[in-house]
Assembly symmetry: C2
Homo-oligomer: 361 residues x 2
């Protein structure tokens, strides 16, 4: 079946590494000699302990995390984090700073509003339809945290350097570029990432949280909404999303052992992005939608001269086995999502198609 697979440019759920999918498939009826599927084993078994602990260990190695951090697996996606973070950390009148770079940041701000939590929007790129990442932001030194969305899947923007926040810990929604590059973890108090872009299937969200921040959390909220519940039980207060965590473990293994870690992954992602952006920049047929210094290496958003041409581009690409190139329904246009698992072969096939479509049109 593998030979009939398409080049998958979906924004998420997105392409996963083929060797990972093949490993899941081959052991699906009998995981690691257990005589059961990974979907049938107890989360209280040595088999699953090995899976979750290996996923945590690999995360720590890949990101050079020391013992100051917890690595947690939570359900509900980034959307639940938008609420959990203020519920845990904005008590006793504390306030958070938000940078608004589009839909996902806006949603995070909105949940703080629903909860009646103090917050400031210290910068926004709404004035130009979120096509850039704001610079020279002044953060409040007494904020509990500074919230940013590191990559915007819809507008195709990405933070390439992280701001100086006056010592305030950054809380980053990294759903769409997590594990795509090395990080200077000293800047971050918390990172959360829905798995379904870069590290696994939908239904599990990784949360990395610094212990000193966790110690300030409100524990008078429901058990499943407290980070401390997850931290004290190795993410197994209740039954975790076992299949998702298992898939993450395999993706992290691939990232570490096959791709060679985050420096190499970043170089690979830069090479892939350069291929497409160079074509766009050397053309007056394709037009990138994000400012050059804010362009995402994960989601390349672009327009063609007309909507008719865009429709035809997407249809013909689909017919050639290049899938998922339609822009988000809220903005239209085209989008090529080239997360970690998008291969150079896939990107080359896309670039060749873009060249030939331009010539034909």
């Amino acid at each position: 079946m593998a030979d009939k697979r398409i080049f998958n440019f979906n924004a998420g759920p997105a392409a996963l590494p083929l060797p990972v999918l093949e490993e899941i498939q081959s052991s699906f009826l009998n995981f690691n000699g257990s005589g059961m599927s990974i979907t049938e084993i107890s989360h209280r078994s040595p088999w699953f302990d090995q899976v979750i602990n290996d996923a945590v260990d690999r995360t720590k190695r890949l990101l050079n995390l020391d013992d100051r951090y917890h690595v947690l697996f939570v359900q509900g996606g980034a959307s639940l984090q938008f609420a959990m973070a203020p519920m845990n950390f904005l008590t006793d009148g504390k306030s958070a700073d938000f940078v608004n770079t589009g839909t996902w940041s806006t949603k995070a701000i909105n949940e703080a509003k629903i909860l009646n939590k103090n917050h400031s929007v210290v910068a926004s790129s709404e004035d130009r339809n979120f096509c850039y990442i704001p610079k020279d932001i002044r953060f409040n030194p007494d904020a509990a945290y500074a919230h940013i969305t590191t990559n915007n899947t819809i507008k195709g923007t990405q933070w390439h350097t992280f701001p100086d926040t006056n010592g305030v810990p950054i809380m980053a929604d990294m759903s769409s570029d997590f594990m795509s590059r090395p990080l200077d973890m000293d800047k971050f108090g918390m990172i959360y990432a829905g798995a379904q872009k870069n590290i696994g299937p939908s239904g599990v969200c990784m949360v990395i949280i610094r212990k000193d921040l966790l110690e300030t959390a409100n524990n008078e909220i429901p058990s499943m909404l407290r980070y401390s519940t997850f931290a004290s039980k190795n993410s197994m207060y209740n039954t975790p999303p076992c299949f998702g965590i298992y898939t993450i473990q395999l993706v992290l293994k691939w990232l570490e052992e096959t791709m060679g870690g985050l420096e190499k992954m970043e170089a690979h992602n830069q090479a892939k992005g350069k291929l497409i952006y160079d074509l766009i920049d050397n053309s007056d047929f394709y037009r990138a939608t994000a400012d050059k210094d804010s362009r995402s290496l994960m989601n390349v958003t672009f327009r063609l001269p007309t909507e008719e041409l865009e429709k035809s581009f997407i249809e013909k690409a689909t017919a050639k086995g290049l899938g998922g190139l339609k822009g988000h329904r809220s903005v239209g246009g085209c989008r090529a999502s080239i997360y970690n698992a998008a291969t150079m072969e896939a990107v080359q096939a896309l670039v060749e198609f873009m060249e030939s479509f331009k010539k034909e049109s």
Copy 2:
């Protein structure tokens, strides 16, 4: 690999029907001709629409649900429902009645307490260590809902008839016996069920909610904690747990088309339970822990004359390919979980082993 599979008596995550696992495996690299894995397709695609809509339609047919009900898929397991239910329905001083039949009911009550919500525990079987289901309960006619846990996996108890609640809608945690028998839905305002016992893998919780009850819900809480968010977006306000919903769809298809619906499933479950309970009742070696009229057809909990014999029983059973027979860590003893997917062949193998172990001991 299928021939090296064990007989799986785990309490959850638990055995899934082998034909379902085989279908997932065979299409894992290329779902339904999409050229992508089910873990890689967009939740906004026609492929996934078909999956989620079919899962909803089959649920409605299996339970004879009319248009008064929503069928939703939520993350966070039953444990998150313990908090979401009071957050949504216990506003403006409203109160809920709870029946405490053990660990899971106790946890549900505890979340209402954490949230400072009005509630009454109208009955409890704690006086005899939760070994029975209370009878002749007087519910408060002005309660917003009456909460019960229909099956207790740890104590091996199950409600065999549902109480008269003075017209108050029952809210039932059915995680461990959902879809094991037909239901008179008129009694229920809401049912929730973590999938990992009877209908799928961990990481997705099905919620069935009556629309008139939903209309009374509080909408001034975070988006991901409002049932209305899920109801208004066909469970796709954010990316749903696609793999879990897909597996549920296949399990429901198996339930409907292979097993022949809930009446037949119930008869099958009764026959399986009878085999084990008859052996226990005709023996003075094995002893059932739950009162006879409250015994679960899903989790058969029993003791042997000594803890040493129990240890040896579990070890020898495991060696013979009968897995997951250890009682919950909080109570000890033995437990055979025989959910829908446990086959008659598995139960017969267990009964034969129990007979031979008794003779040897």
